[in-house]
């Protein structure tokens, strides 16, 4: 699975996710990637999110929408909300994986509970950063 989230100069957010799914998956099996609110989500009032991991759990826990809800109703920051969903909601329910997220101020969050996540960020300052492990 691959994905991207962005905040542009107008303060608009967007998310995109694409995947082949899981090796040896059942024919017709669809994970969280195309399920809006699970693996892909964006709304300017809270955040844009792209997830990768055990899709069935991301769907059942509406991972991306849960982050937005924690920000909208619980007053949490992007990073607080994203970390709670990945490191508690998903991790404690067999939901291995991670996600990337951005808010309308351009703050970024990249939590993951698996051994590694291929991830990268760049801001307007032009500082490109790519990582795989912690």
């Amino acid at each position: 699975t691959v994905g991207a989230v962005a905040c542009d100069m107008q303060g608009n957010l967007a998310a995109a996710t694409s995947t082949g799914g899981m090796t040896a998956k059942a024919p017709g099996r669809v994970g969280d990637t195309p399920v809006i609110g699970a693996g892909t989500y964006a709304d300017n009032a809270t955040c844009a999110v792209s997830g990768t991991g055990h899709g069935e759990v991301f769907i059942r826990f509406t991972a991306a929408a849960e982050i937005a809800a924690r920000m909208r109703h619980g007053g949490q920051s992007l990073d607080q909300a994203a970390k709670h969903v990945v490191m508690q909601d998903l991790a404690q329910n067999d939901g291995s994986g991670g996600l990337i997220a951005v808010d309308a101020q351009g703050n970024l969050s990249r939590p993951f509970n698996s051994e590694g996540m291929y991830r990268g960020t760049v801001t307007q300052d032009g500082d490109f950063q790519t990582d795989i492990f912690r």
């Binding site: 699975t1 691959v2 994905g3 991207a4 989230v5 962005a6 905040c7 542009d8 100069m9 107008q10 608009n12 957010l13 967007a14 998310a15 995109a16 694409s18 995947t19 082949g20 799914g21 899981m22 090796t23 040896a24 998956k25 059942a26 024919p27 099996r29 669809v30 994970g31 990637t33 195309p34 809006i36 892909t40 964006a42 844009a48 990768t52 991991g53 055990h54 291995s96 994986g97 991670g98 990337i100 997220a101 951005v102 309308a104 993951f112 698996s114 051994e115 590694g116 996540m117 291929y118 991830r119 990268g120 960020t121 760049v122 801001t123 307007q124 490109f128 790519t130 795989i132 492990f133």
Partner: protein, 174 residues
């Protein structure tokens, strides 16, 4: 005026440092960096977040190292079924496709659903028709094939036959 930012991912799961040669590690970092450069170029030119995220994901779909587009994993039937989605935070418009094979960049097929239909998700032949009508380039099945993913399928199927397939999905989501 907001200061722009962009993040990308190429998947998460059982990535063991011991299994990653320095050459492979460098190749993954290079693929991620190229995706960032594609999105950054859009944003630095006052482009939209939607154009930035689709440009970045197209680069990752074209890179066979990542499980999407070229280099996608295989189903237990030995075929590739791809899913993709986009969502625009300014309008809450969204587009998604599932179970497709054909568009070189499935993310652009998802964007075609968002921009050319009243729907959020399309599957099956009509999802392909909407993409084709929107001018999304198509490739034949051979374009998406990689030996590494085919070998991963065979070893997973063998583990399943031998009754030793682990239940750890982190090993399988590429």
């Amino acid at each position: 005026m907001t200061r722009f930012s962009l993040a990308v991912h190429g998947g998460a799961g059982t990535i063991r440092r011991a299994n990653l040669t320095p050459q492979a590690e460098a190749a993954y970092h290079n693929g991620l960096k190229r995706a960032l450069q594609a999105g950054h170029a859009v944003l630095a030119d006052h482009g939209s977040a939607m154009d930035a995220v689709t440009a970045a994901v197209c680069v990752l779909e074209d890179e066979p190292l990542f499980n999407a587009g070229r280099g996608a994993v295989f189903t237990s039937d030995g075929v590739q079924e791809m899913d993709a989605a986009v969502m625009d935070g300014a309008t809450r418009m969204a587009g998604a496709v599932a179970g497709i094979l054909g568009p070189r960049n499935p993310v652009m097929a998802a964007r075609a659903v968002m921009e050319h239909t009243d729907h959020v998700m399309l599957i099956g032949p009509n999802a392909l028709k909407v993409a084709r009508d929107a001018g999304v380039p198509f490739e034949d099945a051979g374009y998406f094939f990689t030996q590494a993913r085919w070998d991963a399928l065979q070893s997973t199927l063998k583990m399943r036959r031998d009754g030793i397939e682990d239940s750890d999905p982190a090993r399988r989501h590429g």
